[in-house]
């Protein structure tokens, strides 16, 4: 059993101060972490890179009684090529994705997201698992993983289960994970031959959450769209796929005028709001443009391969 580490009170000063008292654990193995989750799950928070969690704790939006820092669990940090799929450990930092040829070559949409996620400092700290589990509608890894048909492996003391990423999000900050569960890894099938993908994000600054974002994956054969997937971020309570728009595009000739016409449908499949980052109106207007842009880039990438 891992002992609770007592934090020095000196943590309270020198900018800035987490106004929450908590017990802290730093398990070294997945099993230890799952034990702790089993015991404290409901009142505990997992700490990975901390770039979401600590901000929320400073603002007192969450006040966990227990912190389980999983950063020391080596077995959760990997990128593995398994032939027809790639497995990414939940603790993999964005910076590692950025440096991975595998990601760059096979999953260009995810690689696009990596390039525009935070700044170097954040990418050095933040994990891809944390990004998903934080369940922000603006999470940059979600739209690309959605169009890449990624699956998530969730683990608890009771065992493991695998679900498609499209079934993971429940609402802002909410997922299907049980309190005793932890995200273990992400598996992404290698894209089919002749397909391409892309991700585009509109944000206020270069280190900001998306006002709106879109990922697409596309395959064109004999000038006709034979596969298309579209996911949009920051435009609904969760990142969403837009099946009706996809359906309307399937079988269509890949022509800019047709794409422009059909992508107008996406506005019916999102429900953006006015908030401090943008307006519902703007998000709707721009969703069409970035989906179109992403489709054109996906096409270009597909034909380059």
């Amino acid at each position: 059993m891992v002992e609770a580490v007592k934090l020095s009170r000196h943590n309270l000063f020198n900018t800035h101060i987490i106004p929450v008292n908590f017990k802290y654990f730093a398990p070294k193995t997945l099993n230890e972490a799952l034990e702790l989750l089993d015991k404290y799950g409901k009142e505990a928070k997992i700490l990975a890179g901390g770039t979401d969690l600590l901000v929320k704790m400073k603002m007192r939006l969450v006040e966990p009684k227990y912190i389980i820092n999983i950063k020391g669990i080596r077995e959760l940090n990997f990128i593995k090529d398994e032939g027809n799929q790639v497995r990414i450990g939940a603790l993999t930092r964005w910076r590692q994705l950025e440096k991975s040829e595998l990601i760059k070559n096979f999953f260009p949409s995810l690689y696009d997201a990596v390039k525009v996620m935070g700044g170097t400092q954040i990418r050095n700290m933040a994990t891809v698992g944390g990004n998903l589990c934080n369940a922000s509608p603006a999470a940059d890894s979600a739209p690309p993983l959605m169009v890449l048909n990624a699956k998530l492996v969730l683990a608890s003391k009771k065992g493991e289960r695998e679900i498609p990423i499209t079934q993971f999000f429940k609402g802002p900050g909410k997922t299907v994970m049980e309190p005793d569960e932890l995200l273990k890894e992400i598996t992404i099938p290698k894209p089919e031959e002749g397909s391409g993908s892309a991700f585009i994000k509109v944000a206020r600054t270069s280190m900001d959450l998306a006002k709106i974002s879109a990922a697409t994956a596309l395959k064109v054969e004999d000038r006709k769209i034979v596969m298309v997937r579209i996911a949009i971020g920051s435009a609904a309570p969760t990142p969403v796929r837009t099946p009706k728009t996809e359906e309307a595009l399937i079988g269509q000739p890949f022509r800019p005028s047709i794409i422009r016409e059909k992508v107008k449908l996406v506005v019916n499949e999102i429900s953006p709001i006015d908030d401090v980052r943008s307006t519902a109106f703007y998000r709707k207007e721009v969703s069409k443009i970035i989906v179109e842009d992403a489709l054109l880039i996906s096409y270009e990438r597909a034909s380059r391969r």
Binding site: L12, F13, N14, T15, P19, G119, R204, T205, M207, V276
Partner: protein
């Protein structure tokens, strides 16, 4: 004072210097290493949890309400709580208004904006202070409130300050010639309404202060502020002690930008109040949201502007109405409005001018000092007018400006004649060349397609020192110690800009002939004579004259002493490279250290103050005419942008700055100031924006929701064009640069966007949402 130590004579003498040892060079600042290593100490580094009281603020949640009662009973039950303190506990005066006596330190009777301070809670334990603050109950009787300045101007039934009888806090005016005549001579007239918004300073370090009670009813206050002597004055007033009982130390500061000129003294007064009442060391540090909810913002404005010009491109008349939303308190609003009013023309000759300014109370966070001080908004309007005129006249925008820019001998709109140090036309001409203005404006004016390039120029002026006859002075204490090291004591603070740790050392070293590395500057302290504030770009201009004059006095004494020792006349003495020697015969010398030793043994005083009082004229408020400022710094900027016309996103690609700001003492520091100000200005134009709810509460008081540009967003900023238009009342002729590059940034960027889109921008910020509307509106018009 011996006549050889007359400050005016000494300044004149050194102004003639042609060759320099360290001035004009990119000398490394003294604090570079400390800061890079994380060793520099800021206010918060002096806090010792558990050994001091921590102060937490209780803020109003209402925009306008009578305070019926404050129930602190639950808060006082929290362990380690020392007390809950309100307006009635203030031993001195509860009055901290800078321009008008309209502002309490702690709300008394009523609150005027959501975010106003109502009570202070002090506890030994940090967590407990927070917990207790949350338990203070305030009973409000809500009053009707007013948020829109145009509405507030008209209303008599809702008054932010009942005793004033209206929501107009202050009015200003300029009158020159006869605008009717001017407009009748005009072949083209353009008229627009401009709107600009609030901006937060977003200094890395929020506001903080530590107050330490000392024996004999004295207090030492370590605080973040921009003027230690003003901090002391406000603390003294609030706690009811003589100023001489209070010592203020401003350590390294993580940014000021004007915000800590306003808020600094208030933070210090709050900490001092608790220290005085409890007799215990007391520490207060704003959280980011407190900082953003409470401290004054860049003014939000509405500017109605009408300009006329004759066919030959000569400006004939302007009529301007400036409305500043000053929020709940006037703070420095009247001064800010005054500056905006007299700068309304831009740096141009305008024969007929009528400018009216209104400072309007509303139930929102109040406005205050921010780099540029009322000037960026009005220069934005003035420069948009110039572009509109240029378009109507069919004259190139730069050419139109060159036809009208002030030149030596010209009169400003207040009728002040500018005889010297007017290098703006030269700077603009050079800037047009380096930015390849002519070819770009031609190419971009017809740009088509989704991504459109645009180029724009902003030219601005900025009066140096305080306005009108308001007294301004400088001072410092310079001592040469027995071992030959030099200590400079100044009230100028180090807030990142570097004046005390770079230019002040250079000035002392240059004048004394002492090696740079023996000069140490003790800054931001009331132990120095009152130096004036570190604001208004004066740290290396008027603020440094004290060092300049004090060092010059000592140099006179050293020259005299050396000449006696070496058997020559004082004029023959050169001091350099650690020696004093004969100009005609460098072999005849005495070392610096020996010289100082001799001074001490022969009774030559090796300390001097450098008091300097800036000569000024008078402004006639009734007539709206007269003397405005001793001189102006000038700045121009060309910006090149690219607009994605599908998403409305604007990218600033490149910025070319130009300065006519007198002598450049340290080009490295100046480049830092120019780059920082340009990026801060770009953030203001493109990204930064407060969102208020229907009670005037700020919805985004944090850096997740209020964003500033990052290094990745910064455009390429070219090396500045310098025109060194020497000013006689500045150290070696320096006029000051700290604020400069921010002032024309809104104008330059907005004009570039206008150029790219073919519509005149009149409203900031240029967020993608707003630009998208602009594009749609234009397409709608075309259709």
């Amino acid at each position: 004072m011996s006549s050889s130590e007359d400050p005016y004579a000494l300044m004149e003498k050194w102004l003639k210097a042609k060759e320099f040892l360290v001035v004009g060079k990119g000398v490394r600042r003294a604090d570079a290493l400390e800061k890079a290593m994380g060793q520099a100490r800021f206010v918060e580094d002096f806090y010792m949890p558990g050994h001091m009281l921590f102060i937490k603020q209780v803020l109003s949640t209402e925009p306008h309400a009578r305070i019926l009662g404050i129930d602190a009973s639950k808060a006082l039950e929290v362990p380690s709580v020392e007390g809950v303190f309100t307006a009635k506990d203030i031993p001195g005066e509860n009055q901290v208004g800078y321009a008008l006596p309209d502002q309490p330190l702690i709300a008394e009777g009523k609150v005027r904006f959501a975010g106003e301070l109502v009570a202070l809670v002090a506890a030994k334990d940090f967590d407990k202070a927070i917990e207790a603050a949350e338990k203070v109950k305030i009973m409000y009787d809500p009053l009707p409130y007013v948020l829109d300045p145009l509405e507030a101007m008209e209303r008599k039934d809702i008054l932010v300050h009942g005793e004033v009888g209206s929501n107009i806090a202050f009015r200003t005016k300029v009158r020159k010639g006869d605008i009717e005549e001017g407009f009748s001579k005009s072949d083209v007239i353009v008229e627009n309404e401009y709107r600009t918004h609030h901006q937060d300073h977003v200094y890395l370090e929020t506001e903080g202060a530590l107050a330490l009670p000392e024996l004999g009813d004295r207090l030492t206050v370590i605080s973040a502020g921009q003027y230690p002597h003003l901090v002391r004055a406000i603390v003294a007033r609030v706690v009811g002690l003589p100023e001489s009982n209070i010592k203020v130390i401003i350590p390294y500061m993580g940014g000021g930008f004007g915000g800590k000129d306003d808020e600094g003294p208030l933070v210090a007064a709050k900490a001092a109040l608790i220290a005085k009442l409890t007799g215990k060391p007391s520490f207060l540090m704003y959280t980011r949201d407190e900082s953003m909810l409470m401290h004054p913002k860049r003014e939000a404005t509405i500017i109605k502007y009408k300009s006329g010009a004759s066919r030959d491109g000569k400006l004939q008349a302007i009529e301007v109405k400036i409305i500043h939303d000053t929020g709940a308190y006037s703070n420095r609003g009247p001064f800010i409005l005054w500056r905006a009013t007299v700068h309304a023309s831009g740096p141009y000759r305008v024969p007929h001018a009528k400018v009216d300014g209104y400072c309007i109370y509303t139930n929102k966070v109040y406005q205050g000092s921010y780099r540029g001080f009322g000037n960026p908004s009005v220069q934005f309007a003035a420069e948009a007018q110039m572009d509109s005129l240029a378009r109507k006249l069919g004259i190139d925008p730069v050419e139109l400006r060159l036809k009208n820019l002030l030149r030596p001998g010209d009169l400003t709109i207040t009728g002040q004649q500018l005889n010297e140090s007017v290098g703006v036309a030269d700077a603009v001409a050079k800037l047009a060349k380096v930015s390849e203005w002519s070819s770009k404006i031609k190419a971009y004016s017809s740009s088509n397609g989704r991504y459109r390039r645009g180029i724009g120029i902003g030219v601005a002026w900025h009066g140096i020192s305080t306005s009108r006859g308001v007294p301004d002075w400088s001072n410092a204490l310079v001592k040469i110690e027995k071992d030959g090291s030099v200590s400079v004591h100044t009230g100028i603070v180090e807030m990142g800009q570097g004046s005390p740790v770079s230019s002040h050392r250079q000035i002392a070293s240059e004048i004394l002939g002492a090696p740079l590395d023996v000069v140490t500057v003790d800054f931001g302290t009331t132990d120095a004579p009152d130096t004036g504030a570190t604001h208004a770009s004066r740290g290396t201009s008027i603020g440094a004259i004290g060092v300049y004059v004090a060092a010059a006095k000592l140099r006179e004494r050293l020259n005299k002493l050396a000449s006696e020792l070496l058997g020559t006349s004082p004029d023959e003495i050169e001091i350099k490279d650690g020696k004093a020697y004969l100009r005609s015969n460098p072999e005849k010398y005495i070392s610096w250290k020996e010289l100082i030793k001799e001074a001490y043994s022969r009774g030559v005083e090796m300390s001097a103050t450098g008091y300097f009082f800036l000569p000024k004229g008078k402004f006639n408020d009734e007539a709206g005419q007269g003397y405005a400022y001793p001189a102006f710094s000038y700045v121009a900027m060309v910006a090149e942008v690219e607009v994605d016309t599908y998403t409305g996103k604007v990218r600033v690609l490149r910025i070319w700055p130009a300065l006519a700001a007198g002598r450049i003492i340290n080009p490295t520091q100046v480049e830092g100031q120019v780059e920082g100000a340009a990026v801060q200005g770009m953030g203001y134009v493109l990204m930064e924006q407060f969102v208020f709810d229907n009670k005037g509460r700020i919805l985004n008081p944090n850096l997740t929701d209020y964003v500033v540009p990052t290094a990745l967003d910064a455009p390429e900023i070219m090396r500045p064009v310098y025109v060194e238009d020497i000013f006689k009342y500045g150290p070696f002729g320096a006029k000051g640069v700290g604020e400069m590059a921010l002032i024309p940034a809104p104008a330059a960027i907005a004009n570039a966007v206008s150029n790219a889109l073919g519509v005149q921008v009149t409203k900031l910020p240029l967020t993608p949402e707003n630009v998208y509307f602009l594009i749609k509106e234009k397409m709608g018009k075309k259709a």
